[in-house]
Symmetry: C2
Subunit: 250 residues, 2 copies
DNA sequence: CGCTGTTTTGAGCGTCCTCAAGAGTAGTGG
DNA sequence: CCACTACTCTTGAGGACGCTCAAAACAGCG
């Protein structure tokens, strides 16, 4: 391992010195603490003590790694991807601040996908054994945790619908609407966004080749629906995107 | 509502008089009771008291229905499907004995998909509020429940890989291998199976049109991989199916 | 035995993929 | 500061895979 990579690896596992408690985290309305009282939040603070920095391009975990903890994205942006036996890769999701990573690992005590940071990121470490223990005492936490898992299942079903039924333009429109909605929930503009991922990663997520993604972006630009400058996207006509998704057959 | 449908609806909600406890159920190695002691099983028996018969073609629940309970398939076979805003349908899974239905409902207190019986079926009703309560006391039950949710997420990722990356033959091969493996785990032959679903339902699940599914079955028959007599399938060359899935690029 | 729904098979077409080249962008080091 | 390299993105041409439309065979059921 070259010195630079070694330093990066060290940085990746070094816990953050400056603790930000769940109880005072500005993501608590999106993340695990939803619906918990201040006393309950203090208990949660004891659980989520460590943070971890993940530099752009590095993996938070990889398929096959032992499963110990869940992770909540504090800052930054991740992709998760699974690989088939013959090596083809499928991006299964993109995660932003407040979203939880690692739920796949519970089933077999091993992670089954890779989680890779698409920009320099920070995650809160949620030791899973301790979480199970605490959820036995705090029913609000338990219910929120179950909701997060269930929401992941519902989200995956939506992606299956997209992959099974939609055409390229519809897929990209659905993808962009989903991104802008999630950004808006975090206080960002719903019309202007910077893509954190490559055309190839978008294509992998949407079941398309990168050339098709690029062509579809160009078409949206020609049609006046988007302004596309590399990864800087401006949504000019959100209703056109919505029409593509909801009236997809016509 | 015509009398026949009315009678069917009544039958669908009438609890089964003959109780079969989890502790003596032959599916307990596949279902919720995995890993529990006999004392714990007695507690679970108190929870899972009711059964419900679902005739072929009827829905156990539909998207939008209020969420009260999870369901464990006791006998029979189900499909789950979601619909897009414009009415297109995507089959998200097929469930057989020992598998759990309804996990999607936890996220929003409403079901987000339809669960439809593909043959006359029976399910065990697992009241969700009581399950949450009991999992706070029985850590083995809690862990098994979390594993079941996590396994569903992992399964969905596998379907996304299939839908995003595989060609028609590879999809059908993966589907058949998955079915035979699950049947084998339940003590059935791994080479002979009767499909419970139509070509259209298989196609919806695999992101293909029914004609493509039919053609692919015919091709497998020509190639000597399968014997296909309508829904009666015999796997003649399982390794050929495996090669299609794992060496899919070549 | 006719009705209905499912399955098979064919012919032609469209969407997306493959292959390829070139332009744009970012990061590195002289 | 600018060349150099690596990566990403765009665009074109041609082809393949799966879809659409259509008709007929088949099975299940009242």
């Amino acid at each position: 391992m070259p010195p630079a990579a070694q330093a990066a690896a060290l940085a990746a596992v070094r816990p953050e010195p400056f603790k930000v408690a769940c109880s005072s985290c500005n993501l608590r309305e999106l993340c695990l603490p939803v619906g918990m009282s201040s006393e309950q939040l203090e208990r949660l603070d004891e659980l989520v003590e460590q943070r971890r920095a993940v530099p752009r391009g590095e993996a938070l975990f990889r398929a096959g790694d032992g499963f110990q903890s869940l992770y909540a994205v504090r800052t930054g942006f991740f992709k998760t991807c699974v690989a088939s036996e013959d090596g083809r890769e499928q991006v299964t999701g993109f995660q932003m601040a407040g979203e939880v990573l690692g739920l796949d690992g519970i089933s077999s005590d091993r992670h089954t996908c890779d989680a890779v940071a698409l920009e320099d990121s920070q995650v809160c470490i949620i030791p899973y054994g301790q979480l199970e223990h605490l959820t036995r005492e705090l029913s609000d936490l338990q219910h929120q945790f179950h909701k997060i898992m269930s929401r992941e299942i519902v989200r995956d079903h939506g992606v299956m619908l997209l992959l099974g039924n939609m055409r390229a333009e519809e897929r990209l429109a659905a993808f962009l609407l989903n991104l802008t909605q999630r950004l808006q929930a975090r206080g960002f503009s719903s019309s202007s966004l910077v893509l954190r991922m490559t055309r190839e990663e978008i294509g992998s997520y949407l079941g398309l080749k990168l050339e098709t993604v690029s062509r579809t972006f160009s078409k949206f630009q020609e049609d006046g629906v988007l302004d596309v400058k590399q990864r800087q996207i401006t949504v000019l006509d959100p209703q056109a995107l919505q029409r593509l998704v909801s009236n997809a057959a016509g």
